[in-house]
Symmetry: C2
DNA sequence: GACAATGCATTGTTTCTCGATGTATCGTTT
DNA sequence: AAACGATACATCGAGAAACAATGCATTGTC
């Protein structure tokens, strides 16, 4: 099946970087673990696919908001562990503020 | 000046259709008026440019969530008046629900 | 030995927002 | 009367981002 005209929309576009940064602020974690965490905390609402997650991590690496090294998971599997940098922590604050501001504005329209 | 690597980000991507539908649920309005309304209600936060607004309106017309006819504004200027269709009203409910659900999920991550 | 889950990542497609551009009218100021 | 800013329509091209599909490899379970 080549393509449906669907658009399941698992995410609010533009929020993925924020979600990853926030997750990593709790401590270093590997990619798969980030996805699991978002699923769990959001009650299965935030289903971030690998085709979204890994490009996002590359983006964040390029901006040096996270760094990475190879290591082992809790279950002893080889994995790349991502960690928030100081710059990333700053950026987390910036994006959290922007998000809150935007959501407030949208809520204002929706309840007008 | 050809281009900055900026990304001013006036909007949460994916929410423009919702904002337009909600605005039109208050009554028929022309494009410029929609932009003004969003600015006013959001305290200048939601700055929708024309390059975003009009393509969005075309999209909504194509899906028949709004219709349009030429008319006059309050100030007597010629303008295209957009109006929410019944299907658009249904879609407004759908998108409002989806948005609320997504924001709730993201808030859960941010406050975890 | 097959299969699901874990774990990495890239490629191609689509969708969306935005700045720039173009047209036209109206009211105010100079 | 000329200039200018605000009002009003719309399109085009560029860039960013999310997603499905795909590919590889390992581990644990049936």
């Amino acid at each position: 099946m080549p393509r449906s005209t669907d658009a399941s929309q698992e995410l609010l576009p533009g929020t993925l970087d924020l979600l990853i940064l926030k997750t990593l602020s709790r401590g270093p974690l590997h990619g798969y673990g980030i996805a699991q965490h978002l699923l769990a905390v959001s009650a299965e609402v935030l289903q971030v696919g690998e085709g979204s997650l890994y490009p996002a991590l590359q983006r964040l690496l390029g901006k040096e908001w996270v760094d990475a090294e190879w290591g082992l998971t809790d279950t002893g599997r080889r994995a790349r562990i991502y960690r928030l940098t100081p710059a990333g922590r700053t950026q987390l604050a910036v994006e959290t503020g922007k998000f809150t501001r935007m959501v407030g504005a949208i809520q204002a329209v929706l309840t007008a």
